[in-house]
């Protein structure tokens, strides 16, 4: 078996605040293989986006401490200098973020920004860059690429901007694409288009995708494997079918159950949603036991005393819960 495309080992990210260090990621390990989509799922404050920023070296070194090991294609990338990181971002790793409008420069044309992604990493003449830019826009489903290249971001809709962002992200055929909430800011009819686009691009390029999202619908559409994060730690990891069909951690079960499901209207009275009581622990707090303790329907004494370790519950399926066997199974 070949080495994974991306290997993250014991990643820890902590922000420096006036009241001391505030840990956001507390020892996260995972791997992404070529051709695979790994989704990291969590609610706000779970550390999922900070994980992506840490891998990309995009956190300000004066504001955050990052430790652990991150290897891309076998090469350590954590702690690389800025020039090496710049050469890597956009070339080996493509990035798509949530707000396409905020990620594009408003005073530069789409043509300049798509072209820049190519020029920074490849020595090509102006004409070749333009031709390649047009080809990229066509690839992401933009019908009139020559015209769109002359426009500015504000002249495009949110969905079109996100297509442009994806074109920039895949401009240099990156081995890894990091997509942080790529469709969260988009309307549902446009989201379906963008999800289909990401799926088809990946099928063609066989790159690895690290998908960061809070939306289990997006996970169901795109992911091969899923990590559920809670309060900075992985609480469960499994193949996507397993996560949806046989979730083992009470938090994963709660998340799946709390989703509103379409097509329940045969009942004359609207049905209640299943709740997870309480709210996530505040940032920085780290009690000795399980972070999910106060919200957990099956917690017992030991849960407040010791943090549950990640244990293997089946092939390729791990979970961190004291109640895995047998009562909670």
């Amino acid at each position: 078996m070949s080495a994974p495309l991306l290997e993250v080992d014991d990643l820890r990210t902590s922000f420096r605040t006036a009241s001391g260090p505030a840990p956001a990621v507390r020892g996260l390990s995972f791997a992404v293989n070529a051709g695979e989509t790994l989704a990291i799922v969590g609610e706000s404050g779970s550390g999922k986006s900070v994980t992506a920023l840490s891998i990309l070296g995009l956190l300000n070194a004066r504001a955050a401490d990052v430790s652990g090991r991150v290897r891309l294609q076998g090469k350590d990338i954590l702690g690389l200098g800025e020039p090496a990181l710049r050469a890597m971002r956009g070339a080996a790793i493509g990035m798509v973020f949530q707000e396409p409008m905020a990620s594009l420069n408003p005073v530069l044309t789409i043509g300049f920004q798509v072209g820049e992604a190519i020029r920074l990493h490849r020595k090509l003449g102006a004409r070749a860059v333009r031709e390649q830019s047009e080809a990229l826009l066509r690839q992401v489903g933009i019908a009139a690429p020559a015209r769109v290249l002359r426009l500015y971001p504000h002249q495009l809709s949110g969905g079109m901007c996100q297509r442009v962002m994806i074109a920039i992200a895949v401009a240099c055929d990156p081995a890894l694409l990091i997509a942080d909430e790529p469709t969260t800011a988009l309307d549902v009819t446009v989201q379906a288009q963008i999800l289909a686009l990401i799926r088809s691009l990946q099928a063609r390029s066989q790159s690895g995708v690290l998908l960061i999202t809070h939306d289990l619908g997006v996970v169901a559409e795109l992911a091969d494997r899923v990590i559920i994060m809670y309060a900075g730690r992985k609480v469960e990891e499994a193949e996507v079918e397993t996560i949806f069909a046989r979730p083992r951690h009470p938090y994963t079960r709660g998340l799946l159950a709390a989703r509103p499901r379409l097509g329940v209207s045969s009942e004359s009275v609207p049905s209640r949603l299943v709740e997870i009581p309480g709210s996530p622990p505040p940032a920085g707090a780290d009690p000795p036991g399980c972070a999910f303790l106060k919200r957990c329907p099956v917690a017992i004494t030991v849960c407040s005393q010791a943090r549950p370790p990640l244990v293997r519950v089946a092939d390729g399926h791990v979970a961190a819960c004291h109640r895995l066997e047998p009562a909670c199974a």
Partner: protein, 327 residues
């Protein structure tokens, strides 16, 4: 059932730049001839995508904005042109909950003062003691601990802050609450709590809710009736059951069909609507959906379809009587 809110032929336009050199003034028709009623004790959901005019509609009803034409009646009184002093008294009948509780709660006020503000402003309770007792009741109603009253908004999580906002809206015992994307900023686990709380409170207090949302999944769990809005108009309005079991408008169907899969086995089945909503400065002639509609024919470009009843509780604005069944 009595009608608490009536909206007749409501229109709102905003001037838009464009046309070049100041010629050819463009106009955004944000809300274009919308009429409906909300009965006391029911939840009317207004669902649509960004830019469809649903939030503008909410602001017009709350009189945070004035309509270009049309009428808004609250509990039998016309409020769209009512002088402010008179309106102020009626405002206690109608409260609002917005999307971002952090920006709608004053960070320098304690929870007690935030929730007490409407009670004091409307002169509903005279003594400090009575106000504090009422605030205690309200905190209990929305599921916050009694000691929350002495704390500040930043000390609470997003869901708890939204509960504070709901308690403030409930304080003057309104008959109608306008919720504009009230649960959209919340995490999944907390969203379910707030949706359930709103449903419980509404039932217990006999409130009417106007629930504005882009999230059709949440709407199905909370509404009595649903109106679907596209580019400033209602394209379909129906009781919850008919809308979800027998959606008639191609846009309603597209909204339902483009919702992401519930489970991985359904992946790739979402049917995207082609293209994106046209700019509201450049609304297509005839039916507004025709540029994206898979069923559009000549008549759709020349004639605007009016809302017509297909059953006593279901109306749709489409020229087609029967849509081809979705495969």
């Amino acid at each position: 059932m009595t009608e608490i809110l009536n909206v007749y032929n409501l229109k709102k336009t905003f001037p838009a730049r464009g046309g070049g050199l100041g010629f050819g003034r463009a106009e955004v028709r944000a809300v274009d001839d919308v009429s409906f009623a909300v009965e006391s004790g029911e939840t009317l959901a207004i669902v649509g995508e960004s830019g469809c005019g649903k939030s503008t509609l909410g602001r017009l009803i709350l009189r945070l904005d004035r309509p270009a034409s049309g009428e808004v009646w609250l509990d039998g009184a016309r409020i769209d042109n009512m002088p402010v002093p008179q309106l102020r008294r009626l405002r206690q009948q109608m409260q609002a909950v917005f999307q971002d509780p952090m920006s709608s709660l004053d960070p320098r006020m304690r929870v007690l003062d935030i929730i007490a503000e409407p009670l004091v402003n409307f002169g509903l309770l005279k003594s400090r003691k009575a106000v504090e007792r009422r605030v205690g009741e309200l905190l209990d109603m929305v599921g916050l601990p009694a000691d929350a009253r002495h704390r500040y908004p930043h000390e609470f999580s997003g869901g708890q802050r939204q509960r504070i906002g709901i308690a403030r809206a409930l304080a003057p015992s309104p008959r109608l609450i306008v919720c504009d994307e009230a649960v959209s900023a919340l995490d999944v686990s907390v969203k379910a709590q707030i949706v359930n709380s709103l449903a419980d409170l509404q039932r217990e207090l006999g409130l009417a809710l106007l629930f504005i949302s882009h999230d059709i999944g949440v709407v199905e769990h909370l509404s009595t009736r649903v109106a679907v809005m596209y580019l400033g108009v209602f394209v379909e309005i129906a009781d919850r059951r008919s809308l979800f079991s027998d959606p008639r408008h191609p846009y309603t169907r597209a909204l339902l069909a483009s919702t992401p899969a519930f489970e991985p086995k359904d992946r790739g089945k979402a049917v995207p609507l082609r293209g994106e909503p046209p700019s509201p400065t450049d609304i297509p002639s005839g039916c507004r959906l025709r540029t994206r509609c898979p069923h559009a024919f000549e008549r759709c470009a020349t004639e605007t379809p009016a809302l017509r009843p297909v059953s006593p509780t279901h109306a749709v604005a489409c020229h087609l009587d029967e849509l081809p069944t979705l495969s």
